[in-house]
Structure formats: C-alpha cells, structure tokens
C-alpha cells in the first residue's frame, strides 16, 4: 500500500517537473500609430488570430488618429474651421461620439477637463509637431481667450447638426482621444473573442483578463527619475492612465511650463508632477487624469472631482515628491525601492476614501 503510494508520488513529482514545457505564450506586437508606440499584448492566443487582431487595431488607430487630430488637416480640423464661422453645419459622424462622451466627462469634472480650450493649448505652443519652446504667451492673449470662457456647454448639437456661438471655442481632444481609442481597441479584441489582453498606448493602458495564472503586472514610471516608481497588478478589466508634467513641457527662465493647461487660469497647472488614475474605462481615466492634475495637490480640491467622475483609484505625486493615495490603491500598489539596501524615503499620505 505504502509502496504503491510512494511510486505514485514519484511519478507525480516527475510529471510536475516536466510539465513546464507547454506554456501558452503571449502574442506581443508594437504599433507605431496614434503618434506614439502602441503596445498590444495578448495572452494565449493563436498566432493567426493575434496577427489578425493587431492588423485590425493598427487600421483602427490610424483612422482615429487622422479623424481626431487637433492640428493636422482632417475631420476635426474641418469641424474647428466650421465652428469658428459661427454657422450651423453637419458634423462628420466619426466625431459625434467623441463630442458626446467628452461633454459628459467635462461636465462631471466641473469643467476642469475641458476639450474646448484648443485655442489656449495652441497659444502655449503645445498644438504642434515641433517641441514647444516658449516664451510663454502674453497675459493679454490668454485673457482674450479666457474672457469668453469656451466650454463644451457652448456647443449646440441637434442630430448631426452642430453650431456654437462662442468664437473662442476650439476642440482639442488631446487629453481624451487616446483613452477613447484604447476603449475601442478593447471592444475590437473582445469582438474577436480575445479576453486576455493589454493595450498600452504610450503608457496609458487598459487591461482585460489575466496573464495566464497571474494578473497583468504594470509598472508606473517615476515622474522625476529614470525607472519605475511602483508596480501594481491588474486583472479583470481596468484602465490605468498617468498624466505628468514631464510628458510635454518647456523651460523658460527657470520655470517649467507643462502641457496641461488649467482652463480657469489659462496657465499650466501647478503643484503636481503626475497623476495616475484607475478606472474601468480608459476614456474616463484619461479625462480624469487631466482634471485631477488641474485640480491640484490639495485633497479638498481633487477628491470631490475624483468622486464626481467615478474613478476607482488615484495616486498623485506632488512636485516635491510626496505621494497621495486613495485607500483602495494603497493596498494594491508596491513601491519599488530606489536601489538595493536603500530605504524608500517616500512620504506617502492616504487620502479619505473615494
């Protein structure tokens, strides 16, 4: 009896040792689309299906990039020209869902996420293929746009007929289109029967399912140094978006001007170096990351916005390096020590619950 048992045990041990051969593999491809690198990782997918899916995503991303580009000629460019005329016109259907969804998110953010301030973004030099250089625009020029308070509520939409009475309104979906595109990519993958995937558009990502027997592992970049600040595991369906002052900026006479413009002041938002938002939908996470960056480092300011927008978690890095976290995220995140044998001297504060 014992003899048989021990033989069976031996066989089990041997079987376990040899079982590691047939691992399902990740299908991984990089796309140079949407003005960035889009990294698509699929788990346990046949290569033919993986290839088919990625080709389809590449086409979709190209289409969306052209349709929604804020300063290249294309459908959105045309819409902006027509908006400036003040007349009513027929909206290209590809733009409609973007306007509807971003209006809703803009309202929920109390106007801190505001895609109608394209004129301000352009005035600061961030709506250009060239890196922004400065100098910062004059107070008068900023005032001129700010006084007319362009916002999504100035848009009159009736079916596909659109009009605005605000001549300062210009659409720029920079803080939103990427998230929206990632959501559409996930829809496409699900349609193709792919349930385990990460779509990472230049760092802003949505993950569904798992990486086989473990969750997906995501590293969050350090806003000030090279390398990774923290890691977090993601499974099921979740998006993680980070907005940082290091993405696009210029330095002018000792001051850093970043690309996230506060629609209330007309100047780049101050006080934070990065905002990471966790939410189910990528477009919500994208818009919320911008809105919270604008809201600033004070919990009294950002927490109500985070609540109103319905995000599931927030991590803020103040520009002095202090970290603020919502309680749910504290339990999930692991801060990576800067080097071996070195204490992490991160100052971490847990905010009130969302």
């Amino acid at each position: 009896m014992i003899k048989t048992f021990s033989r069976i045990l031996l066989i089990f041990i041997l079987a376990f040792l040899t079982a590691c051969d047939h691992k399902p593999v990740a299908y991984h491809e990089q796309l140079l689309v949407f003005g960035t690198v889009v990294d698509v990782k699929l788990w346990d997918v046949e290569e033919t299906l993986g290839r088919q899916a990625v080709t389809r995503l590449a086409d979709d991303f190209d289409y969306m990039h052209n349709a929604w580009h804020a300063w290249h000629p294309g459908p959105l460019g045309r819409v902006n020209q027509l908006l400036a005329s003040g007349e009513s016109f027929t909206l290209p259907p590809s733009i409609l869902p973007l306007i509807q969804r971003s209006s809703e998110l803009s309202q929920r953010s109390n106007g801190l996420f505001n895609p109608a301030i394209g004129k301000l973004t352009a005035l600061w030099g961030f709506a250009s293929d060239d890196p922004p250089k400065g100098p910062p625009p004059s107070t008068e020029a900023i005032r001129a746009i700010l006084d007319q308070q362009p916002g999504m509520e100035d848009i009159r939409l009736n079916g596909l007929t659109m009009q605005t009475t605000n001549p300062a309104l210009k659409l720029d979906f920079g803080a939103f289109a990427k998230g929206y595109a990632v959501d559409r990519a996930i829809d496409v993958l699900r349609e193709l029967g792919i349930d385990n995937a990460v779509v990472n558009a230049g760092g802003d990502l949505r993950a569904i399912g798992r990486h086989g027997d473990r969750p997906w592992r995501v590293g969050i970049r350090h806003p000030r140094e090279a390398g990774i600040l923290a890691s977090v595991e993601v499974e099921g369906d979740e998006s993680i978006f980070t907005s940082g002052d290091y993405e696009r900026y210029f330095d002018w006479q000792g001051t850093r001007y970043d690309h996230i413009i506060d629609p209330r002041s007309g100047y780049p938002a101050q006080g934070l170096s990065s905002v990471t938002v966790f939410a189910r939908q990528a477009d919500l996470a994208d818009a919320a990351a911008t809105a919270l960056f604008v809201a600033g480092p004070d919990e009294k300011d950002w927490l109500p916005i985070a609540r109103a927008m319905g995000v599931s978690g927030v991590m803020l890095v103040n520009d002095d390096g202090r970290v603020q976290l919502t309680p749910g995220i504290r339990e999930r995140i692991y801060f990576i020590p800067p080097a071996e044998n070195e204490q992490t001297n991160l100052e971490i504060r847990i905010s009130a619950a969302l």
Binding site: D130, G203, L205, G219, I228
Partner: protein, 124 residues
C-alpha cells in the same frame, strides 16, 4: 572522507535535484536573460534582431532616410536619424529590458526584448 557511497535512493534524490535545478533555471531565467537582445522595427515590422554583445553599426532605412543604430557592449542607441526633433537620439543608450527608443518621423523603433519579466506594461 573515504568510502562515501551513494545508495540507489541517494542517486534518485540527486537525479531529481538535478532535474529540479535545470527546470528552475529554465523557468526563472529563460525569457528574461539580461536584456541581451534588441529588436528593430521599421513601420511596425521587424527589421532586425540584434545581439547586444556583438558590437555593430546599422543603417536602418525609413521613409525619411537612414537611421544609424549602434550596438556596444550590451547597450544600443540611435546615433543619428533624419528627424527634426532628434528625440530618439536624445533617448541615449538603452540597456534595460523593455526600454524603447523611437524615431516616429522615420518610423523606426528600437526595443530591448522582454528582459524585464517584472512588468507586462509600463505606465508613463
């Protein structure tokens, strides 16, 4: 230490140990390595796979012209590229797994292969 004899049982244990060690190295060291390989993509298609410990210089043709890529002692970088902003050149040397340099205008990208097993994606 004379007369050390391995019994049959000992031999089985040692055999299992050897198998275990081999599979451990395979499981934990296989995919990650030390960032020993990089891949060059042109227009999203694989153009070359580089051994980072074989020093070489490559001219990668893109739509704007040739991007010059250099491999030296486990590192790789863009030396020059026909793009206006030179972001790819300013990225500098890459050596860690998962690191990327891209010349978007010339559609050339450079990435160190999957050697960072810690992360499936980097949020930046």
């Amino acid at each position: 230490m004379n007369g050390v004899k391995l019994s049959r049982g000992d031999a089985v244990v040692w055999l299992l140990t050897a198998t275990l060690l081999m599979s451990l190295y395979m499981m934990f060291w296989q995919a990650d390595g030390h960032g020993a390989e990089a891949v060059v993509l042109v227009n999203g298609k694989r153009w070359a796979r580089l051994d980072l410990f074989q020093n070489q210089d490559l001219d990668v043709p893109g739509p704007l012209g040739h991007s010059h890529i250099q491999v030296r002692d486990g590192q790789v970088r863009f030396v020059n590229s026909p793009c206006p902003n030179q972001l790819c050149v300013h990225t500098g040397w890459l050596s860690q797994g998962g690191e990327v340099a891209i010349c978007l205008p010339n559609r050339v990208s450079l990435q160190i292969l999957g050697s960072d097993p810690r992360f499936d994606a980097i949020n930046f």
